[in-house]
Symmetry: C2
Subunit: 337 residues, 2 copies
């Protein structure tokens, strides 16, 4: 394997010059530049990254810590992050913290060991409470989750507003007894519940929110249980893609047709929400953009560590489908046997 000194020798220059050419530093004559590049080419020289990282104290690596890459939201975020990162010659270390704050801080320690240039984090509630960027030896950008009072770079959806609009849409469509299933494990679920509650209150309706861990299984179980209680809800609302999936499965399983018996709506415009007849009304998040904004914020922060803290809030788009079709006013006939 060719080393930098081999290149230097072949080009008839010092190793310092080779290093300078490769780093793109100014102040190196064109003739040396050319000779070095030719030698690099001829020897197929590739710098040893371990040595470079040791000496330069930079790793050009970032960490991405999410709860679970299998959650389609984070899948898409990770794809965006990786696209942009690789374009900037950065590596990405992906970590699944499984909504477990212990695992999360384990991974954050790992990031320190790796001496990463920065981290994109979708924090657990524990990490978010009293989160201070200065507690970490690297820049951190929060994604998807962030409290109102958190002072850190962050990219989030307008959760409260989106849930408010979704709920209002249901009410306007004639559904009044709307039950909101939300994840308690993250700040996002709480904020969406808040928007839901506000919309219900604005119409003089009683909020019924069911708190649960944000998994498909738990959502299915909770919905199943709720469908056995009376009075039956007018609509079920899921605060995330996973929860919405669980709700949908429960309705199918109980053979409750929507929107005839119970309407349905939720978050995340995943392919299946279009396929399930008659289509599910959702708030579509610009997920790829969220990921891209996060990595771009991080790149800027790495570049200018002292720059003012910034928060990017993206707007969710309401997509109306059959699952929340305007209710035919035949009150009293909507309950199932």
């Amino acid at each position: 394997m060719a080393q930098i000194k081999d290149v230097a020798m072949r080009a008839g220059v010092s190793v310092a010059s080779v290093s300078r050419v490769l780093a793109g530093h100014a102040g190196v004559s064109e003739s040396i530049r050319q000779r070095v590049l030719m030698a690099v080419e001829a020897l197929d020289y590739r710098p040893d990254l371990a040595a470079r990282r040791l000496r330069s104290r930079r790793t050009d690596t970032i960490g991405l810590i999410v709860s679970d890459i299998r959650n389609p939201f984070f899948t898409e975020v990770s794809r965006a992050v990786e696209d942009v990162a690789y374009q900037h010659h950065l590596r990405v270390i992906l970590c699944n913290a499984d909504e477990d704050s212990e695992k999360e801080s384990l991974y954050l320690d790992l990031m320190r060991d790796e001496n990463v240039s920065g981290v994109i984090l979708s924090p657990t509630l524990a990490a978010l409470a009293g989160f201070r960027p200065s507690d970490y030896p690297f820049p951190v950008v929060l994604v998807d989750r962030c409290n109102r009072d958190t002072t850190a770079d962050a990219v989030v959806l307008d959760n409260v507003d989106a849930a408010y609009r979704l709920t209002t849409h249901l009410i306007d469509s004639g559904y009044r007894r709307n039950v909101f299933f939300y994840g308690t494990t993250s700040a996002t679920g709480r904020q969406r519940r808040e928007g839901y509650a506000a919309a219900m209150a604005a119409h003089g309706l009683e909020a019924q929110a069911e708190a649960l861990p944000a998994t498909v299984d738990r959502a299915r179980a909770a919905a199943r249980e709720r469908l056995h209680r009376r009075p039956l809800p007018d609509a079920l609302v899921g605060s995330s893609g996973l929860i919405l999936l669980g709700l949908t499965e429960a309705l199918r399983e109980a053979q409750v047709r929507f929107p005839d018996s119970v309407a349905l709506a939720g978050f995340d415009d995943l392919p299946w929400t279009r396929l399930v007849e008659p289509g599910i009304t959702v708030i579509a998040q610009p997920i790829y953009d969220i990921g891209r904004a996060a990595i771009e914020l991080l790149l800027q922060r790495i570049d200018k560590p002292e720059q003012a803290v910034r928060r990017v809030v993206l707007r969710g788009e309401l997509i109306e489908r059959g699952s929340s079709a305007k209710r035919v006013q035949a009150t009293g006939l909507t309950s199932i046997a």
Copy 2:
């Protein structure tokens, strides 16, 4: 930041002893061992990974190169790989090659630069043709895609057999004019087409296979086109989860009900295949197991580079659902206006 010499000083031993204790090497007395561990604890010492990697020439990092992490198949594979890798204190570098052989070899070069311990690769056709593990400076395990004559560690599904069983099931259920939509960009699609063709031939039926790039959009377009031609197929079969999704969208869009007008079946037991009424018949792949087998194979290969080449073939499970329900024998009445 504490260094190894600080630890050595505090423990009253040499740096070599500290290194040996941390590496878990034998031949170090219990008393020194204890003193070192206490000093490490007291100073919160964390070894510098760049230095370690430079000197030891090992990175404890592996590469995972797939076409697109957003493909649920690879999402699940990556989760399995990461789970096992982190358990073994290995980092994972994830790369999306987008089914582009140029990008793929770019990433393979990157793996060389990173001096990874090994790579798990879902190869493009170009990479697979004449693939030789010895062409790479690191061990490679193939996943999902592999030719009959490829001599390399690999983990794949019994593609030919699975497609054969799926097709036979359709034929047995009364569907004879079955059109197979398969991806040409990977070896997997071709193998599944082979199984399909064999099953059709075994029943004296004419195979109709539509080749296309394995994306949702292309599959939807191809199916849409086919649904405008006459005679209408008895069944559509998709050779992957993405293709099956495209087919399903096309059927919905054309308002063709399945299985009444046209039956439907395919690969990958994704959550939505259960939700779409009346459920879609699929071959379920043990995806997590595929990923786990791949990383385990890689770990063993790293451990014993000279070990014989191994191939793990996992069996797909046929899950029958409504989309391929036994046809009511009312021949001639199945075409739509």
